[in-house]
């Protein structure tokens, strides 16, 4: 049916074109909006795009909600700070520390995952919360991390007008790479197993899926990216202080973004971050009392959970496709003048049988 093939092609090329356009827009952004505040927003937003996508890669696909991803973020951040100081690095050279920071975060994800992934999902969330607090406690008390006053990142000697740009482009690169990785994972057998685990872990295990290695790998990947994001952010901000590096609001914001956009989808976290982060930053600028954003975030979260539980994108897609499917069915009906048996009404008759029944009217 050429109609279907055309629809299929359109369905595939449209998103690709859209994504290409988006990347171009994002790449041109700092050249158009040279105001440092704007690029500031851009960098932080892109960092959130990265972290939200990375979080979704693990939690969205596997169904294990992690409220402790700040651990990986913070580990990457502190590693960068400590390494930059110990190895006396500055300027662009520091960017090469990012993959290392990610690797360190990925490394600690292994023991964490081995402990945390053996329990049911309820308990898993709680354990991630506990790990979060352990990390915060450690950062506040250990001398290597500078204790509760934190540690400083090197400040590069770049021209103040374009100071933000290197950070921006690295952030953009990281965000794009994360999205690409998400796509690759989703299409792979690994991603399939992960999603099967999400739907029915025991059944998946019973069918030969090796659940622990699969979950752990996803966690490690997610941690790797989150660690890199944390390192980038701390380099940009200039210092790592335990309260801000390990901030429960950060975790919640990331989760909210993924939920808002659509948990388990690829574009969802991206959309969520692109919409919510600038909003939060803007609100923080307007309101002197920073706690309003807390209340608003909480309220927004509740609203999303109660009214848009699947997130914006899946709900919109469903609405659009059901509208679209209805119009198609109407057209088919009027053209052929009979009821289409494959109307999607979910009768319990055998498919073979019903097809036969339909044509012998």
């Amino acid at each position: 049916m050429t109609d279907e093939r055309n629809r299929h092609l359109l369905g595939r090329s449209l998103p690709v074109a859209g994504v290409g356009a988006l990347i171009l827009v994002l790449a041109a952004f700092p050249l158009v909006f040279t105001n440092p505040t704007a690029t500031n927003f851009g960098i932080i937003t892109l960092v959130f795009v990265t972290v939200a996508s990375a979080w979704n890669l693990f939690s969205g696909f596997s169904g294990y909600l992690s409220l402790g991803h700040a651990v990986f973020y913070g580990t990457g951040a502190y590693f960068l700070v400590v390494a930059a100081k110990d190895w006396n690095l500055n300027g662009s050279a520091v960017f090469w520390l990012l993959p290392l920071a990610g690797a360190v975060a990925a490394l600690i994800a292994v023991p964490l995952g081995l402990v945390a992934l053996r329990v049911r999902r309820h308990t898993f969330v709680v354990i991630t919360i506990a790990f979060f607090f352990i990390a915060q406690l450690s950062a506040s008390n250990l001398s290597v991390t500078g204790g509760s006053s934190g540690a400083l990142a090197p400040i590069p000697n770049w021209a103040s007008a374009t100071y933000n740009n290197p950070f921006y482009y690295v952030a953009l690169l990281l965000a794009a790479a994360t999205v690409v990785l998400s796509v690759l994972v989703r299409r792979s057998r690994f991603g399939l197993q992960l999603r099967a685990i999400r739907d029915d872990e025991d059944r998946a295990a019973g069918l030969g899926v090796r659940t622990m290695p699969v979950k752990l790998t996803a966690l490690v990947l997610s941690a790797f990216i989150t660690g890199m994001a944390g390192a980038l952010w701390v380099y940009f901000i200039g210092q790592a202080v335990p309260q801000f590096v390990f901030d429960p609001l950060f975790d919640l914001a990331v989760v909210l973004m993924a939920f808002f956009g659509g948990l388990g989808t690829i574009a969802g976290p991206v959309l969520g971050a692109l919409v919510l982060e600038p909003t939060q930053l803007y609100l923080n600028l307007q309101e002197t009392n920073g706690y309003t954003s807390e209340i608003l975030f909480g309220a927004l979260f509740l609203a999303v959970i109660l009214f848009l539980p699947r997130g914006v994108l899946p709900t919109a897609a469903e609405y659009a496709s059901s509208e679209w499917a209805r119009k198609l069915a109407l057209r088919v009906r009027s053209r052929r003048g009979r009821t289409d048996p494959a109307d999607g009404e979910g009768s319990a008759a055998a498919p073979v049988g019903s097809e036969a029944a339909g044509t012998t009217r």
């Binding site: 399939l192 059944r203 069918l207 030969g208 090796r210 494959a342 319990a348």
Partner: protein
């Protein structure tokens, strides 16, 4: 390449309730064996015990001459035993085809895996829904999907838990036909069912369970007329001793 599945002396208690006492059951290689009994007789528990979803208190389970007592569901699956569930357990958010691709590939390339998946979907008749989320399937279609995906891994022994339960008559015949075809190709079947016509018309051998014990075992006709079986189902008093 099929084998005989044998449970010997299996006992299982849940707290104070003795769900299974000293059950022995044989599903002979290449035959279709039925497992029937009133509600609460322990049929699903026996299934769970055999396939590793429940730990048993006593007894042994053998596949051929291999002891698989207490094996985890993964190991049971790896040994070549597939099973379906009474309340279908599919992956609702994955598409029908993706559901088929979840079971381990066992050395096939991904293309061969896909082709086999589509073959099996066609075999059971739901290939038209291959791209739809499995959650949108009707109950009967889900039963077919479950049947299809346990077959993906080529199990030697297939355990079906109420394959005809809640399914409309024309589909039941369809399912029975498919089972017969698969059996002719050499697969062993053990089927739990309530639908007497289905069981009697399909199975070579029938075992009856009542309150956790085996009360009868034999060809369908013999079992159908067995007074102990009637007693179990209808509460009719057996002849006085």
């Amino acid at each position: 390449m099929t084998a005989t599945l044998r449970a010997e002396g299996v006992s299982k208690a849940f707290g104070g309730l003795q769900a299974l006492s000293d059950c022995s059951l044989t599903a002979e290689a290449g035959r279709i064996t039925g497992l029937i009994g009133p509600n609460g007789s322990g049929k699903t528990t026996l299934f769970n015990a055999i396939t590793g979803y429940e730990r048993i208190d006593a007894g042994q389970v053998f596949l051929g001459d291999r002891r698989i007592t207490g094996a985890s569901p993964q190991r049971v699956f790896a040994c070549g035993i597939g099973r379906t569930f009474q309340l279908t357990r599919i992956f609702p958010r994955l598409t029908v085809l993706e559901n088929m691709l979840v079971p381990a590939r066992r050395g096939r390339s991904s293309r061969q895996h896909r082709e086999r998946a589509m073959e099996l979907l066609a075999f059971t008749g739901i290939n038209g829904h291959a791209g739809a989320p499995a959650g949108t399937l009707s109950f009967g279609q889900r039963k077919l999907l479950e049947l299809a995906y346990v077959l993906v891994a080529d199990p030697a022994v297939v355990l079906l838990d109420e394959p005809a339960g809640g399914v409309n008559p024309s589909l039941i015949l369809h399912i029975a036909d498919r089972i017969r075809e698969l059996n002719k190709a050499g697969r062993t079947f053990l089927i739990v069912e309530h639908n007497m016509d289905f069981v009697m018309g399909l199975c070579h051998q029938v075992t009856v369970l009542d309150s956790g014990t085996v009360v009868a075992s034999g060809p369908p006709d013999a079992v159908r007329n067995n007074p102990r079986v009637l007693d179990a189902y209808l509460g009719i008093e057996a002849d006085d001793d």
